[in-house]
Amino acid sequence: MSLYTLLGALEIGLIFSLVALGVYISFRLLRFPDLTVDGSFPLGGAVAATMIAAGHDPFTATIAATLAGAVAGLLTGWLNVSLKIMDLLASILMMIALYSINLRIMGKPNVPLITEPTVFNLLQPEALADYVFRPLLLVLVVLAVKLALDAYFSTQSGLAIRATGSNARMARAQGVNTGMAILAGMALSNALVGLAGALFAQTQGGADISMGVGTIVIGLAAVIVGESLLPSRKLYLATIAVILGAIVYRFFIALALNSDFIGLQAQDLNLVTAVLVTVALVVPRLRAHWSGKKGA
Protein backbone atom coordinates (compact mmCIF):
# COMPACT_ATOMS: atom_id res chain seq x y z
CA MET A 1 0.00 0.00 0.00
CA SER A 2 1.44 3.38 -1.02
CA LEU A 3 1.63 6.42 1.24
CA TYR A 4 -1.00 7.99 -0.96
CA THR A 5 -3.56 5.22 -0.35
CA LEU A 6 -2.61 5.17 3.32
CA LEU A 7 -3.32 8.88 3.74
CA GLY A 8 -6.46 8.51 1.65
CA ALA A 9 -7.71 5.79 3.99
CA LEU A 10 -6.87 7.96 7.00
CA GLU A 11 -8.76 10.88 5.47
CA ILE A 12 -11.95 8.90 4.85
CA GLY A 13 -11.56 7.13 8.20
CA LEU A 14 -11.42 10.49 9.98
CA ILE A 15 -14.51 11.75 8.16
CA PHE A 16 -16.38 8.59 9.05
CA SER A 17 -15.24 8.88 12.65
CA LEU A 18 -17.63 11.85 12.84
CA VAL A 19 -20.39 9.57 11.58
CA ALA A 20 -19.31 6.97 14.13
CA LEU A 21 -19.47 9.51 16.96
CA GLY A 22 -22.99 10.40 15.83
CA VAL A 23 -23.97 6.73 15.73
CA TYR A 24 -22.42 6.25 19.17
CA ILE A 25 -24.65 9.02 20.55
CA SER A 26 -27.85 7.57 19.09
CA PHE A 27 -27.24 3.82 19.40
CA ARG A 28 -25.19 3.68 22.57
CA LEU A 29 -25.96 6.75 24.69
CA LEU A 30 -29.63 7.21 23.74
CA ARG A 31 -30.22 3.56 22.76
CA PHE A 32 -32.18 4.87 19.78
CA PRO A 33 -31.59 2.67 16.71
CA ASP A 34 -31.32 5.50 14.21
CA LEU A 35 -31.05 4.86 10.47
CA THR A 36 -31.59 8.55 9.64
CA VAL A 37 -27.83 8.76 9.04
CA ASP A 38 -28.21 7.10 5.64
CA GLY A 39 -30.16 10.22 4.70
CA SER A 40 -28.50 12.89 6.80
CA PHE A 41 -25.00 12.06 5.49
CA PRO A 42 -25.92 12.78 1.84
CA LEU A 43 -28.07 15.67 3.12
CA GLY A 44 -24.94 17.29 4.52
CA GLY A 45 -23.13 16.62 1.26
CA ALA A 46 -26.02 17.94 -0.85
CA VAL A 47 -26.42 21.15 1.14
CA ALA A 48 -22.69 21.88 1.19
CA ALA A 49 -22.06 21.05 -2.48
CA THR A 50 -25.12 22.92 -3.75
CA MET A 51 -24.28 26.02 -1.73
CA ILE A 52 -20.64 26.01 -2.76
CA ALA A 53 -21.56 25.46 -6.42
CA ALA A 54 -23.94 28.42 -6.11
CA GLY A 55 -21.01 30.59 -5.00
CA HIS A 56 -21.46 30.57 -1.22
CA ASP A 57 -18.54 30.54 1.14
CA PRO A 58 -17.50 26.89 1.90
CA PHE A 59 -17.43 27.56 5.66
CA THR A 60 -20.99 28.89 5.65
CA ALA A 61 -21.98 25.94 3.48
CA THR A 62 -20.43 23.47 5.92
CA ILE A 63 -22.18 25.06 8.89
CA ALA A 64 -25.49 25.03 6.98
CA ALA A 65 -24.98 21.33 6.19
CA THR A 66 -24.37 20.60 9.88
CA LEU A 67 -27.55 22.43 10.84
CA ALA A 68 -29.49 20.59 8.13
CA GLY A 69 -28.32 17.31 9.68
CA ALA A 70 -29.49 18.52 13.08
CA VAL A 71 -32.94 19.33 11.70
CA ALA A 72 -33.18 15.84 10.15
CA GLY A 73 -32.34 14.27 13.52
CA LEU A 74 -34.80 16.55 15.26
CA LEU A 75 -37.57 15.42 12.90
CA THR A 76 -36.81 11.74 13.49
CA GLY A 77 -36.91 12.41 17.24
CA TRP A 78 -40.18 14.29 16.84
CA LEU A 79 -41.78 11.41 14.90
CA ASN A 80 -40.83 9.14 17.77
CA VAL A 81 -41.51 11.38 20.77
CA SER A 82 -44.58 13.34 19.70
CA LEU A 83 -46.21 11.07 17.15
CA LYS A 84 -45.28 7.91 19.09
CA ILE A 85 -43.89 6.12 16.05
CA MET A 86 -41.51 3.30 16.93
CA ASP A 87 -37.90 4.56 16.97
CA LEU A 88 -36.54 2.33 14.19
CA LEU A 89 -39.53 2.98 11.93
CA ALA A 90 -39.39 6.73 12.55
CA SER A 91 -35.78 6.78 11.41
CA ILE A 92 -36.53 4.68 8.32
CA LEU A 93 -39.34 7.07 7.36
CA MET A 94 -36.97 10.00 7.74
CA MET A 95 -34.27 8.19 5.76
CA ILE A 96 -36.48 7.60 2.72
CA ALA A 97 -37.99 11.08 2.95
CA LEU A 98 -34.47 12.50 2.84
CA TYR A 99 -33.73 10.69 -0.42
CA SER A 100 -36.35 12.86 -2.16
CA ILE A 101 -35.36 15.95 -0.21
CA ASN A 102 -31.71 15.51 -1.19
CA LEU A 103 -32.67 15.21 -4.86
CA ARG A 104 -34.73 18.40 -4.49
CA ILE A 105 -31.84 20.24 -2.86
CA MET A 106 -29.37 19.25 -5.57
CA GLY A 107 -31.89 19.43 -8.40
CA LYS A 108 -30.00 16.55 -10.04
CA PRO A 109 -28.42 13.27 -8.93
CA ASN A 110 -24.99 14.81 -8.35
CA VAL A 111 -23.29 18.15 -7.84
CA PRO A 112 -19.59 18.08 -8.75
CA LEU A 113 -17.05 20.27 -6.96
CA ILE A 114 -13.98 20.29 -9.21
CA THR A 115 -12.69 23.84 -9.45
CA GLU A 116 -14.82 25.31 -6.68
CA PRO A 117 -13.23 26.39 -3.38
CA THR A 118 -13.59 24.04 -0.40
CA VAL A 119 -12.72 24.44 3.28
CA PHE A 120 -9.66 22.31 2.50
CA ASN A 121 -8.14 24.19 -0.44
CA LEU A 122 -8.95 27.56 1.17
CA LEU A 123 -6.94 26.70 4.29
CA GLN A 124 -4.18 24.72 2.59
CA PRO A 125 -0.69 26.20 2.97
CA GLU A 126 1.61 26.29 -0.11
CA ALA A 127 4.17 23.98 1.44
CA LEU A 128 1.90 20.97 1.93
CA ALA A 129 0.46 18.64 -0.66
CA ASP A 130 -3.33 18.42 -0.56
CA TYR A 131 -3.37 14.71 0.28
CA VAL A 132 -1.19 15.43 3.33
CA PHE A 133 -3.02 18.55 4.46
CA ARG A 134 -6.54 17.12 4.31
CA PRO A 135 -5.97 14.37 6.91
CA LEU A 136 -4.07 16.88 9.08
CA LEU A 137 -6.96 19.33 9.11
CA LEU A 138 -9.41 16.47 9.72
CA VAL A 139 -7.42 15.28 12.73
CA LEU A 140 -7.87 18.73 14.26
CA VAL A 141 -11.58 18.82 13.46
CA VAL A 142 -12.22 15.32 14.85
CA LEU A 143 -10.16 16.05 17.96
CA ALA A 144 -12.08 19.28 18.58
CA VAL A 145 -15.42 17.47 18.14
CA LYS A 146 -14.33 14.67 20.47
CA LEU A 147 -13.26 17.06 23.23
CA ALA A 148 -16.43 19.12 22.85
CA LEU A 149 -18.58 15.97 23.11
CA ASP A 150 -16.67 14.72 26.16
CA ALA A 151 -17.23 18.08 27.83
CA TYR A 152 -20.88 18.35 26.85
CA PHE A 153 -21.77 14.90 28.11
CA SER A 154 -20.35 15.75 31.52
CA THR A 155 -22.59 18.80 31.87
CA GLN A 156 -25.97 18.72 33.57
CA SER A 157 -27.74 18.79 30.24
CA GLY A 158 -25.49 16.13 28.70
CA LEU A 159 -25.94 13.94 31.75
CA ALA A 160 -29.71 14.20 31.31
CA ILE A 161 -29.36 12.78 27.79
CA ARG A 162 -27.22 9.88 29.02
CA ALA A 163 -29.67 9.18 31.86
CA THR A 164 -32.55 9.15 29.37
CA GLY A 165 -30.82 6.45 27.33
CA SER A 166 -29.74 4.46 30.36
CA ASN A 167 -32.95 4.54 32.46
CA ALA A 168 -35.72 6.76 31.13
CA ARG A 169 -38.06 6.05 34.05
CA MET A 170 -35.46 7.16 36.58
CA ALA A 171 -34.59 10.19 34.45
CA ARG A 172 -38.23 11.30 34.43
CA ALA A 173 -38.48 10.79 38.19
CA GLN A 174 -35.51 13.16 38.49
CA GLY A 175 -37.36 15.76 36.46
CA VAL A 176 -35.68 15.16 33.11
CA ASN A 177 -37.98 15.90 30.19
CA THR A 178 -36.98 12.72 28.39
CA GLY A 179 -38.76 13.70 25.18
CA MET A 180 -36.66 16.84 24.91
CA ALA A 181 -33.53 14.87 25.78
CA ILE A 182 -34.19 12.49 22.88
CA LEU A 183 -34.73 15.42 20.51
CA ALA A 184 -31.49 17.08 21.63
CA GLY A 185 -29.49 13.88 21.37
CA MET A 186 -30.83 13.03 17.93
CA ALA A 187 -30.15 16.56 16.67
CA LEU A 188 -26.59 16.42 17.96
CA SER A 189 -26.02 12.97 16.49
CA ASN A 190 -27.26 13.87 13.03
CA ALA A 191 -25.53 17.26 13.06
CA LEU A 192 -22.22 15.37 13.28
CA VAL A 193 -23.32 13.12 10.41
CA GLY A 194 -24.33 16.16 8.34
CA LEU A 195 -20.92 17.71 9.02
CA ALA A 196 -19.25 14.48 7.91
CA GLY A 197 -21.32 14.51 4.70
CA ALA A 198 -20.29 18.09 3.97
CA LEU A 199 -16.59 17.29 4.49
CA PHE A 200 -16.91 14.10 2.44
CA ALA A 201 -18.39 16.02 -0.52
CA GLN A 202 -15.56 18.54 -0.30
CA THR A 203 -12.81 15.92 -0.29
CA GLN A 204 -14.34 13.57 -2.87
CA GLY A 205 -15.10 16.11 -5.58
CA GLY A 206 -18.81 16.58 -5.04
CA ALA A 207 -22.06 15.22 -3.65
CA ASP A 208 -23.95 12.29 -5.09
CA ILE A 209 -27.43 11.04 -4.29
CA SER A 210 -26.10 7.53 -3.61
CA MET A 211 -23.28 8.61 -1.29
CA GLY A 212 -25.37 7.78 1.77
CA VAL A 213 -25.99 4.13 1.00
CA GLY A 214 -24.63 2.03 3.85
CA THR A 215 -23.51 4.97 6.02
CA ILE A 216 -25.19 3.44 9.04
CA VAL A 217 -23.39 0.13 8.49
CA ILE A 218 -20.03 1.89 8.31
CA GLY A 219 -20.85 3.96 11.39
CA LEU A 220 -21.95 0.93 13.39
CA ALA A 221 -18.97 -1.08 12.14
CA ALA A 222 -16.69 1.67 13.42
CA VAL A 223 -18.41 1.73 16.81
CA ILE A 224 -18.24 -2.05 17.14
CA VAL A 225 -14.61 -2.33 15.96
CA GLY A 226 -13.68 0.52 18.31
CA GLU A 227 -15.40 -1.08 21.28
CA SER A 228 -13.60 -4.37 20.73
CA LEU A 229 -10.23 -2.59 20.34
CA LEU A 230 -10.65 -0.48 23.47
CA PRO A 231 -13.48 -1.72 25.66
CA SER A 232 -14.38 0.96 28.21
CA ARG A 233 -17.47 2.47 29.75
CA LYS A 234 -15.68 5.74 30.42
CA LEU A 235 -16.95 8.31 27.97
CA TYR A 236 -13.65 9.94 27.01
CA LEU A 237 -12.18 6.51 26.26
CA ALA A 238 -15.29 5.39 24.41
CA THR A 239 -15.09 8.39 22.08
CA ILE A 240 -11.42 7.63 21.36
CA ALA A 241 -12.37 4.01 20.72
CA VAL A 242 -15.07 5.00 18.25
CA ILE A 243 -12.69 7.29 16.33
CA LEU A 244 -9.99 4.61 16.25
CA GLY A 245 -12.59 2.11 15.13
CA ALA A 246 -13.54 4.25 12.13
CA ILE A 247 -9.89 4.69 11.11
CA VAL A 248 -8.93 1.04 11.63
CA TYR A 249 -12.00 -0.03 9.69
CA ARG A 250 -10.97 2.16 6.74
CA PHE A 251 -7.43 0.80 6.86
CA PHE A 252 -8.65 -2.75 6.72
CA ILE A 253 -10.88 -1.92 3.79
CA ALA A 254 -8.00 -0.22 1.98
CA LEU A 255 -5.68 -3.10 2.82
CA ALA A 256 -8.14 -5.68 1.61
CA LEU A 257 -8.87 -3.87 -1.63
CA ASN A 258 -5.27 -2.94 -2.40
CA SER A 259 -3.65 -6.29 -1.75
CA ASP A 260 -3.59 -7.94 -5.12
CA PHE A 261 -2.57 -11.28 -3.65
CA ILE A 262 -5.94 -11.59 -1.84
CA GLY A 263 -7.67 -10.93 -5.13
CA LEU A 264 -10.44 -8.74 -3.70
CA GLN A 265 -12.00 -6.05 -5.85
CA ALA A 266 -13.99 -2.89 -5.19
CA GLN A 267 -17.32 -4.72 -5.44
CA ASP A 268 -16.27 -6.89 -2.48
CA LEU A 269 -16.41 -3.86 -0.15
CA ASN A 270 -19.68 -4.80 1.53
CA LEU A 271 -18.59 -8.41 2.02
CA VAL A 272 -15.36 -7.23 3.63
CA THR A 273 -17.40 -4.94 5.91
CA ALA A 274 -19.67 -7.78 6.96
CA VAL A 275 -16.73 -10.07 7.73
CA LEU A 276 -14.93 -7.32 9.65
CA VAL A 277 -17.96 -6.53 11.82
CA THR A 278 -18.50 -10.24 12.48
CA VAL A 279 -14.88 -10.60 13.61
CA ALA A 280 -15.19 -7.52 15.82
CA LEU A 281 -18.33 -8.95 17.41
CA VAL A 282 -16.89 -12.39 18.00
CA VAL A 283 -13.38 -11.47 19.22
CA PRO A 284 -14.47 -9.93 22.57
CA ARG A 285 -16.56 -13.01 23.31
CA LEU A 286 -13.68 -15.34 22.50
CA ARG A 287 -11.38 -13.21 24.62
CA ALA A 288 -13.81 -13.48 27.56
CA HIS A 289 -14.09 -17.21 26.95
CA TRP A 290 -10.32 -17.71 27.02
CA SER A 291 -9.69 -15.53 30.05
CA GLY A 292 -12.59 -17.26 31.80
CA LYS A 293 -10.96 -20.62 31.23
CA LYS A 294 -7.65 -19.32 32.54
CA GLY A 295 -9.37 -18.07 35.66
CA ALA A 296 -11.04 -21.42 36.36
Binding site: A151, Y152, S154, T155, Q156, S157, G158, L159, A160, R162, A163, G165, S166, N167, R169, M170, A171, R172, A173, Q174, G175, V176, N177, T178, R233
Partner: protein, 264 residues
Protein backbone atom coordinates in the same frame (compact mmCIF):
# COMPACT_ATOMS: atom_id res chain seq x y z
CA UNK B 1 -49.20 18.39 52.05
CA UNK B 2 -50.65 15.81 49.73
CA UNK B 3 -54.36 15.98 49.00
CA UNK B 4 -55.78 13.27 46.78
CA UNK B 5 -59.51 13.41 46.33
CA UNK B 6 -61.93 10.97 44.75
CA UNK B 7 -59.38 9.29 42.47
CA UNK B 8 -60.83 6.84 40.02
CA UNK B 9 -58.92 4.69 37.59
CA UNK B 10 -60.05 1.71 35.54
CA UNK B 11 -57.65 -0.46 33.58
CA UNK B 12 -58.83 -1.98 30.29
CA UNK B 13 -62.31 -0.46 30.50
CA UNK B 14 -65.00 -2.26 28.54
CA UNK B 15 -63.04 -5.51 28.23
CA UNK B 16 -63.38 -8.83 30.08
CA UNK B 17 -60.20 -8.00 32.03
CA UNK B 18 -61.52 -4.63 33.20
CA UNK B 19 -60.06 -3.74 36.59
CA UNK B 20 -61.21 -0.89 38.77
CA UNK B 21 -57.90 -0.12 40.46
CA UNK B 22 -58.96 3.10 42.22
CA UNK B 23 -62.58 3.58 43.27
CA UNK B 24 -62.93 6.99 44.81
CA UNK B 25 -59.62 6.89 46.64
CA UNK B 26 -59.08 9.92 48.90
CA UNK B 27 -56.17 10.60 51.19
CA UNK B 28 -54.70 13.66 52.85
CA UNK B 29 -51.21 13.70 54.25
CA UNK B 30 -50.39 16.82 56.30
CA UNK B 31 -46.96 18.39 55.92
CA UNK B 32 -44.27 16.51 57.83
CA UNK B 33 -46.29 13.35 58.38
CA UNK B 34 -44.91 9.89 57.68
CA UNK B 35 -47.71 7.62 56.50
CA UNK B 36 -47.40 3.90 55.82
CA UNK B 37 -49.79 2.31 53.35
CA UNK B 38 -50.70 -1.37 53.40
CA UNK B 39 -53.14 -3.57 51.54
CA UNK B 40 -53.30 -6.96 49.89
CA UNK B 41 -52.29 -7.56 46.29
CA UNK B 42 -54.52 -5.62 43.94
CA UNK B 43 -55.74 -3.28 46.67
CA UNK B 44 -54.51 -0.32 44.65
CA UNK B 45 -51.38 0.60 46.64
CA UNK B 46 -49.03 0.77 43.71
CA UNK B 47 -51.62 2.29 41.40
CA UNK B 48 -52.24 5.04 43.95
CA UNK B 49 -48.53 5.70 44.33
CA UNK B 50 -48.11 5.78 40.54
CA UNK B 51 -51.03 8.18 40.25
CA UNK B 52 -49.38 10.52 42.74
CA UNK B 53 -46.00 10.29 41.02
CA UNK B 54 -47.61 10.87 37.62
CA UNK B 55 -46.69 7.56 35.99
CA UNK B 56 -50.37 6.71 35.86
CA UNK B 57 -52.99 9.23 34.78
CA UNK B 58 -56.25 8.99 36.72
CA UNK B 59 -59.63 8.93 34.97
CA UNK B 60 -61.09 11.42 37.44
CA UNK B 61 -60.31 13.06 40.75
CA UNK B 62 -57.73 15.58 41.82
CA UNK B 63 -54.19 15.40 43.15
CA UNK B 64 -52.81 18.47 44.91
CA UNK B 65 -49.46 18.94 46.57
CA UNK B 66 -49.23 22.00 48.83
CA UNK B 67 -52.21 23.44 46.99
CA UNK B 68 -50.67 22.99 43.52
CA UNK B 69 -52.84 20.97 41.18
CA UNK B 70 -50.71 18.09 39.87
CA UNK B 71 -53.44 15.99 38.27
CA UNK B 72 -52.38 16.68 34.67
CA UNK B 73 -48.65 17.14 35.26
CA UNK B 74 -46.22 14.63 33.65
CA UNK B 75 -43.79 12.71 35.87
CA UNK B 76 -40.88 15.03 35.09
CA UNK B 77 -43.05 18.05 35.82
CA UNK B 78 -43.92 16.75 39.29
CA UNK B 79 -40.35 15.79 40.09
CA UNK B 80 -39.67 19.27 41.43
CA UNK B 81 -42.01 18.49 44.35
CA UNK B 82 -41.99 14.70 44.50
CA UNK B 83 -39.02 12.47 45.28
CA UNK B 84 -39.30 8.75 44.82
CA UNK B 85 -37.56 5.49 45.66
CA UNK B 86 -38.59 2.52 43.52
CA UNK B 87 -39.21 -1.06 44.59
CA UNK B 88 -36.68 -2.41 42.11
CA UNK B 89 -33.19 -1.30 43.24
CA UNK B 90 -32.15 -1.21 39.57
CA UNK B 91 -34.95 1.19 38.64
CA UNK B 92 -33.93 4.11 40.82
CA UNK B 93 -30.41 4.59 39.47
CA UNK B 94 -28.70 4.65 36.07
CA UNK B 95 -26.41 1.66 35.95
CA UNK B 96 -24.25 3.11 33.16
CA UNK B 97 -23.48 6.24 35.14
CA UNK B 98 -21.09 6.55 38.05
CA UNK B 99 -22.22 7.00 41.66
CA UNK B 100 -21.38 10.69 41.57
CA UNK B 101 -23.13 11.19 38.22
CA UNK B 102 -26.27 9.55 39.58
CA UNK B 103 -26.14 11.79 42.62
CA UNK B 104 -25.54 14.83 40.42
CA UNK B 105 -28.68 13.95 38.47
CA UNK B 106 -30.67 13.79 41.69
CA UNK B 107 -29.11 16.99 43.01
CA UNK B 108 -30.74 18.82 40.09
CA UNK B 109 -34.10 17.09 40.43
CA UNK B 110 -36.81 19.30 39.00
CA UNK B 111 -34.42 22.11 38.12
CA UNK B 112 -33.28 23.47 34.78
CA UNK B 113 -30.25 21.58 33.59
CA UNK B 114 -27.69 23.89 32.07
CA UNK B 115 -24.27 23.65 30.52
CA UNK B 116 -22.13 23.75 33.62
CA UNK B 117 -20.31 20.59 34.63
CA UNK B 118 -22.59 18.23 36.50
CA UNK B 119 -20.01 17.05 39.04
CA UNK B 120 -18.04 19.94 40.51
CA UNK B 121 -15.43 19.56 43.29
CA UNK B 122 -17.68 21.15 45.95
CA UNK B 123 -20.52 18.84 44.98
CA UNK B 124 -18.22 15.84 45.05
CA UNK B 125 -17.27 16.67 48.64
CA UNK B 126 -20.94 16.92 49.57
CA UNK B 127 -21.64 13.53 47.98
CA UNK B 128 -18.65 12.02 49.74
CA UNK B 129 -19.88 13.30 53.11
CA UNK B 130 -23.38 12.00 52.45
CA UNK B 131 -22.14 8.58 51.36
CA UNK B 132 -19.88 8.22 54.37
CA UNK B 133 -22.96 8.38 56.63
CA UNK B 134 -24.03 5.05 55.13
CA UNK B 135 -20.95 3.30 56.47
CA UNK B 136 -20.69 1.17 53.34
CA UNK B 137 -17.37 2.54 52.13
CA UNK B 138 -19.04 4.03 49.07
CA UNK B 139 -17.42 7.42 49.74
CA UNK B 140 -14.25 6.00 48.16
CA UNK B 141 -16.03 4.73 45.07
CA UNK B 142 -17.56 7.93 43.69
CA UNK B 143 -16.39 7.30 40.15
CA UNK B 144 -17.42 3.63 40.07
CA UNK B 145 -20.33 2.71 37.87
CA UNK B 146 -23.38 2.31 40.06
CA UNK B 147 -24.14 -0.92 38.19
CA UNK B 148 -21.26 -2.49 40.13
CA UNK B 149 -23.08 -2.01 43.46
CA UNK B 150 -25.37 -4.55 45.10
CA UNK B 151 -29.13 -4.02 45.23
CA UNK B 152 -29.04 -2.94 48.86
CA UNK B 153 -26.23 -0.48 48.25
CA UNK B 154 -28.07 0.96 45.27
CA UNK B 155 -31.24 1.32 47.32
CA UNK B 156 -29.31 3.11 50.07
CA UNK B 157 -27.83 5.51 47.52
CA UNK B 158 -31.32 6.02 46.03
CA UNK B 159 -32.54 7.13 49.45
CA UNK B 160 -29.69 9.60 49.79
CA UNK B 161 -30.44 10.84 46.29
CA UNK B 162 -34.10 11.40 47.16
CA UNK B 163 -33.06 13.73 49.97
CA UNK B 164 -30.36 15.68 48.10
CA UNK B 165 -32.91 18.18 46.91
CA UNK B 166 -35.84 19.46 49.02
CA UNK B 167 -39.19 17.85 48.19
CA UNK B 168 -42.76 18.34 49.31
CA UNK B 169 -43.47 14.63 49.21
CA UNK B 170 -41.34 11.50 49.38
CA UNK B 171 -42.79 8.35 47.83
CA UNK B 172 -41.40 4.99 48.90
CA UNK B 173 -42.72 2.11 46.81
CA UNK B 174 -42.10 -1.13 48.75
CA UNK B 175 -38.50 -0.07 48.60
CA UNK B 176 -37.26 -2.84 50.92
CA UNK B 177 -39.30 -5.66 49.37
CA UNK B 178 -36.60 -6.80 46.95
CA UNK B 179 -33.84 -6.91 49.59
CA UNK B 180 -32.70 -9.67 51.93
CA UNK B 181 -33.96 -9.25 55.54
CA UNK B 182 -30.74 -7.78 56.94
CA UNK B 183 -30.31 -5.29 54.12
CA UNK B 184 -34.01 -4.46 54.28
CA UNK B 185 -33.66 -3.63 57.98
CA UNK B 186 -30.67 -1.43 57.22
CA UNK B 187 -32.49 0.43 54.44
CA UNK B 188 -35.57 0.88 56.63
CA UNK B 189 -33.48 2.29 59.45
CA UNK B 190 -31.83 4.65 56.99
CA UNK B 191 -35.27 5.67 55.73
CA UNK B 192 -36.44 6.62 59.21
CA UNK B 193 -33.26 8.58 59.82
CA UNK B 194 -33.42 10.51 56.54
CA UNK B 195 -37.13 11.28 56.86
CA UNK B 196 -36.61 12.60 60.41
CA UNK B 197 -33.50 14.55 59.47
CA UNK B 198 -35.17 16.38 56.59
CA UNK B 199 -38.68 16.40 58.15
CA UNK B 200 -40.05 14.90 54.95
CA UNK B 201 -43.72 14.40 54.20
CA UNK B 202 -43.61 10.72 53.36
CA UNK B 203 -45.83 8.02 51.97
CA UNK B 204 -44.39 4.53 52.26
CA UNK B 205 -46.15 1.64 50.57
CA UNK B 206 -45.26 -1.68 52.13
CA UNK B 207 -46.23 -5.30 52.03
CA UNK B 208 -45.33 -5.88 55.64
CA UNK B 209 -47.80 -5.05 58.44
CA UNK B 210 -44.96 -5.22 60.95
CA UNK B 211 -43.03 -2.58 59.01
CA UNK B 212 -46.15 -0.47 58.56
CA UNK B 213 -46.69 -0.25 62.31
CA UNK B 214 -43.02 0.09 63.27
CA UNK B 215 -42.26 3.25 61.33
CA UNK B 216 -44.11 6.47 60.68
CA UNK B 217 -46.95 8.16 62.55
CA UNK B 218 -49.98 6.88 60.71
CA UNK B 219 -51.04 3.73 58.91
CA UNK B 220 -53.58 3.53 56.14
CA UNK B 221 -55.02 0.30 54.73
CA UNK B 222 -56.35 0.14 51.21
CA UNK B 223 -58.84 -2.35 49.89
CA UNK B 224 -60.45 -2.40 46.46
CA UNK B 225 -59.09 1.00 45.53
CA UNK B 226 -60.24 2.83 48.65
CA UNK B 227 -59.04 3.63 52.16
CA UNK B 228 -60.71 1.21 54.58
CA UNK B 229 -58.65 1.83 57.69
CA UNK B 230 -56.84 4.89 58.93
CA UNK B 231 -55.12 4.76 62.32
CA UNK B 232 -52.76 7.17 64.01
CA UNK B 233 -51.75 8.51 67.41
CA UNK B 234 -52.72 6.64 70.60
CA UNK B 235 -54.92 4.19 68.76
CA UNK B 236 -52.01 3.11 66.57
CA UNK B 237 -49.43 2.86 69.38
CA UNK B 238 -51.21 -0.08 71.02
CA UNK B 239 -51.68 -1.94 67.77
CA UNK B 240 -50.09 -5.21 66.81
CA UNK B 241 -50.21 -7.09 63.55
CA UNK B 242 -53.06 -9.32 64.70
CA UNK B 243 -55.09 -6.25 65.79
CA UNK B 244 -54.64 -4.86 62.34
CA UNK B 245 -55.84 -8.13 60.85
CA UNK B 246 -58.89 -8.20 63.11
CA UNK B 247 -59.74 -4.62 62.22
CA UNK B 248 -59.37 -5.37 58.59
CA UNK B 249 -61.69 -8.35 58.80
CA UNK B 250 -64.26 -6.32 60.70
CA UNK B 251 -64.17 -3.47 58.22
CA UNK B 252 -64.37 -5.64 55.17
CA UNK B 253 -66.36 -8.51 56.58
CA UNK B 254 -64.07 -11.05 55.00
CA UNK B 255 -61.02 -13.08 55.86
CA UNK B 256 -57.58 -12.21 54.59
CA UNK B 257 -56.00 -15.00 52.65
CA UNK B 258 -52.99 -13.16 51.39
CA UNK B 259 -49.92 -14.89 52.78
CA UNK B 260 -47.67 -11.98 52.04
CA UNK B 261 -49.71 -9.74 54.34
CA UNK B 262 -49.83 -12.27 57.14
CA UNK B 263 -46.21 -13.28 57.03
CA UNK B 264 -44.73 -9.80 56.68
Amino acid sequence: MLKASELRLTFNPGTPIETQALRGMSLEIPTGQFVTVIGSNGAGKSTFLNAVSGEQRVDSGKIEIDGIDMTRQPVWGRARHVARVFQDPLAGTCEDLTIEENMALAKMRGERRGFSFAVKPALREEFRAQLSTLGLGLENRLSDRIGLLSGGQRQAVSLLMAALQPSRLLLLDEHTAALDPRTAAFVLELTVRIVAEHKLTTMMVTHSMRQALDVGQRTVMLHQGRVVLDVSGKEREGLDVHHLLDMFEKVRGEKIDDDALLLG
